[in-house]
Amino acid sequence: MRSNSRGGEWTRMPGILIVDDEEDMQRLVRAVISEANEGLKVVGEATTGEEAVERWRELRPDIILLDQRMPGMTGIEAAEQILAEAPDQRIILFSSFLDDETNRRAKQVGVLACIDKTDVGSVPEAVWKYTGR
């Protein structure tokens, strides 16, 4: 996973875990990231919060793109559980309905950023920003 350059530095490609219950959304995010072609790599996908936790433990991705509204555990709940185990884990909340309360809760548990799903084009930029490479 050491290939593309950014800003003249050689870096390891940031691995992304996409968590969304909508297959369309997963496909869209993957396509957007693929089309951005900026050295990002989708390392895994999950459709529920519980599955996300499992996949995170297994894959240890650089960053998690986490849907908020899912059956069962919500995105923030999954983030809370993951951050309890690994406080440094980078997580971006990716939701179609972001209100003040959701933003506040996300910040509170340690989520780095919240991105509206309609702004899916900004995902690659945000991933780069928060992986710090």
Partner: protein, 671 residues
């Protein structure tokens, strides 16, 4: 607040004393009147005796004076046939009708013949004096001493007669020796007095109160009318007539004839006493009754005063009733209490029991009229009423019976209980309403969240893939481009379906959704709709079984909405790669559209509610799929508009089967 005066025993005591006093007064008056009457009559008897003695004396003296006059007038010459003698004697006879005058004629052989001349014995034949020894002795003594005498004896007809006699000699100069007198005697002038007449006229004036006797020594000469002799216990008054020649006396005594006066006093006294006693007793009873009523009322008020706040302590009836029952037990001795409510079928349903079971009326109509009192061990049932309607009953068994005031108190607390139960029911209804509204509010919030999430997800997908196609269309591979287009198409279809549902839903809500029933060939319409909708079931196998020419009376667009929603429902809640079957058939007079899937099925307990608005089955499939909870509610409304029915049952392979029945068009019904 009721203020009642305490009744002092002093008032009762006073009235009793008054009654006793009046009775004593009556008895005293009686005794006094008896004593006074006796004394008065004794005084009267004394006066009567004195007066009678004087009268008799006056009569006798008067007669004696006349006799003397007669003797003077005769002048010593007496002839019984002499007219002058008769004339002389007449005044004597007229002075007192009790007397008979006559001559006693002595013959030389010493025989004396009595010749009554006037008066009551005037017509009597001459009678022999030998039959009257007292007279004979007196006449002989008078002949010898020349003195007048009075003596009583039984005369003719055994009548008591008192004889006054004066001897008559043949010369005016009285003979001076016994021998001369014996030879010169020619006869006697006599008057015969009848004491009967004398006493009856002089003694009878006070006969009602006084008895009287005229006595000569111990011989009763006469008795006053109606006096049947002296009574042994009566004091008598004896007065002598006071004439030396008469040994007469008058005895009088108070008669025991009872006067009406004491009776009146006695009766009045007793009557007053009885009246006073009755008045006193009536007053006492009334005061006692009033005191008892006031005390009962006071107890009732304090009891009701305790029960009222107890029942208001909580709107949860179950929390309050045990305390209520214990209070009733303590206060009224009710060892078994059952409280019932009128249930949905109109009969009583027990909601609370304290102590052993008692028999409760089954229906409000079986409740008796409230009794005045209840015997020990008896049972009483009182209606719990609210707004004039019986809402329940309180049935209780009493250990030691219930007085009327206790029945009254029980009724009062029963009324309080009615109010408390009514309030509790209202509170419960209000709570249920609040809960329903809360649920509705929650469902609406969830619904809005679901709708916005659904809309944004679809819009995001469409916008995202469309953006990819427009930005990177040149560099995309063919499979990717087709994939994106297909995703755009499917999301657009779902978006259209959701928007249609929302619009239909709003119209149904406003009752502005109209259908135009017409013959619809389901065998043609249904496959067409399935074909158009297939894009929402890309991962399912779709099968169809169409009976030919099934024509229903329906509205084509409504049928389409129903079918699309049922297919969408199957797409959401069944896993990929399962089969969804659509069948059109006829069943008796109905046309049927059946949508059957191989999914996880719907639990029986949920089937009632799946047609509710905003309701979503709480299972994994529901949690993992999209949906806003109005699809099946919309289907039900539409089926109703078409006068059809929809049922849900298990599919043959464990999935779900929805069956819509619509009326068959008449001309095509099988004959």
């Amino acid at each position: 607040v009721e203020v009642h005066r305490p009744v002092t025993p002093a008032r009762d005591w006073a009235s009793s004393a008054l009654a006793v006093l009046l009775v004593l007064v009556g008895i005293s008056a009686f005794a006094f009147s008896r004593r006074t009457g006796h004394t008065n009559r004794l005084r009267l008897a004394k006066a009567t005796a004195t007066a009678s003695a004087q009268t008799i004396l006056a009569v006798v003296r008067g007669d004696r004076a006349q006799l003397n006059v007669a003797a003077v007038l005769l002048g010593g010459r007496v002839d019984v046939n002499d007219a002058a003698a008769r004339i002389a004697l007449r005044p004597i006879s007229t002075t007192n009708r009790a007397q008979t005058t006559g001559l006693a004629v002595a013959t030389p052989d010493g025989k004396v013949t009595m010749r009554p001349l006037s008066g009551p014995l005037g017509n009597t034949a001459p009678f022999d004096l030998d039959a009257q020894p007292n007279w004979k002795v007196a006449l002989a003594l008078s002949r010898d001493d020349g003195q007048a005498r009075t003596v009583a004896d039984r005369g003719p007809g055994n009548r008591l007669l008192v004889m006054n006699e004066v001897p008559l000699y043949g010369s005016t100069d009285g003979p001076d020796s016994v021998e001369t007198r014996r030879t010169m005697l020619v006869g006697y002038v006599v008057s015969l007095e009848m004491p009967d007449a004398l006493t009856s006229s002089s003694l009878s004036g006070s006969a009602a109160f006084v008895g009287a006797e005229l006595l000569q020594n111990n011989t009763v000469l006469s008795v006053s009318d109606g006096a049947t002799g002296r009574s042994a216990d009566s004091a008598s008054v004896v007065v002598a007539v006071a004439d030396p020649s008469l040994n007469w006396s008058v005895a009088t005594w108070p008669r025991s004839t009872r006067s009406l006066l004491p009776f009146e006093y006695l009766a009045a006294g007793l009557l007053l006493g009885v009246i006073a006693a009755v008045v006193a007793d009536t007053g006492r009873r009334a005061r006692r009754a009033a005191a008892a009523a006031a005390e009962a009322r006071s107890l009732e008020l304090s009891f009701v005063g305790r029960i009222g706040p107890l029942l208001q302590r909580s709107l949860d009836v179950g929390e309050v009733l045990p305390f209520f029952a214990v209070e009733l037990d303590d206060e009224l001795g009710l060892d078994a209490i059952t409280i019932s409510r009128v249930g949905p079928t109109g009969g009583f349903v027990r909601i609370f029991s304290h102590g052993p079971a008692v028999r409760v009326p089954r229906f409000p109509a079986e409740l008796d009229v409230r009794p005045e009192w209840v015997k020990p061990g008896g049972t009483i049932s009182l209606a719990l009423q609210r707004g004039g309607r019986t809402i329940g009953a309180l049935t209780a068994r009493t250990r030691s019976g219930l007085e009327p005031s206790q029945v009254h108190a029980l009724q009062a607390v029963t009324d309080l209980l009615s109010a408390a139960l009514g309030n509790a029911r209202l509170f419960q209804q209000e709570q249920e309403m609040v809960e329903r509204l809360r649920q509705l509010d929650h469902m609406k919030t969830t619904f809005l969240g679901s709708v916005s999430h659904e809309l944004r997800t679809m819009v995001t997908a469409i916008k995202g893939f469309a953006g990819l196609l427009s930005m990177r269309g040149v560099t995309l591979s063919e499979p990717d481009r087709l994939d994106y287009l297909e995703r755009i198409d499917r999301n657009a279809a779902s978006l259209g379906l959701l928007v249609d549902d929302l619009l239909d839903f709003a119209r149904l809500d406003r009752h502005t959704f109209t259908v135009t029933p017409q013959p619809v060939n389901l065998s043609e319409l249904v496959p067409a709709v399935v074909e158009q909708t297939s894009s929402i079931l890309p991962e399912h196998r779709l099968t169809m079984t169409m009976a030919p020419d099934v024509v229903a009376v329906a509205d084509p667009s409504a049928v389409e909405r129903i079918l699309v929603n049922l297919l969408s429902n199957a797409a959401k809640y069944t896993p990929p790669n399962t089969t969804v079957d659509v069948t059109v058939d006829r069943l008796a007079t109905k046309a049927t559209i059946t949508v059957t899937d191989d999914g996880p099925g719907i639990p029986a307990s949920e089937r009632e509610r799946i047609f509710d608005r905003f309701y979503r089955v709480d299972n994994h499939a529901a949690r993992t799929t999209r949906g806003v909870g109005i699809g099946l509610a919309l289907v039900l409304e539409l089926v109703k508009l078409l006068e059809g029915t929809i049922t849900v049952s298990d599919g043959p392979k464990g999935g779900t089967r929805f069956t819509v029945e619509l009326p068959l068009a008449v001309e095509l019904m099988p004959t």
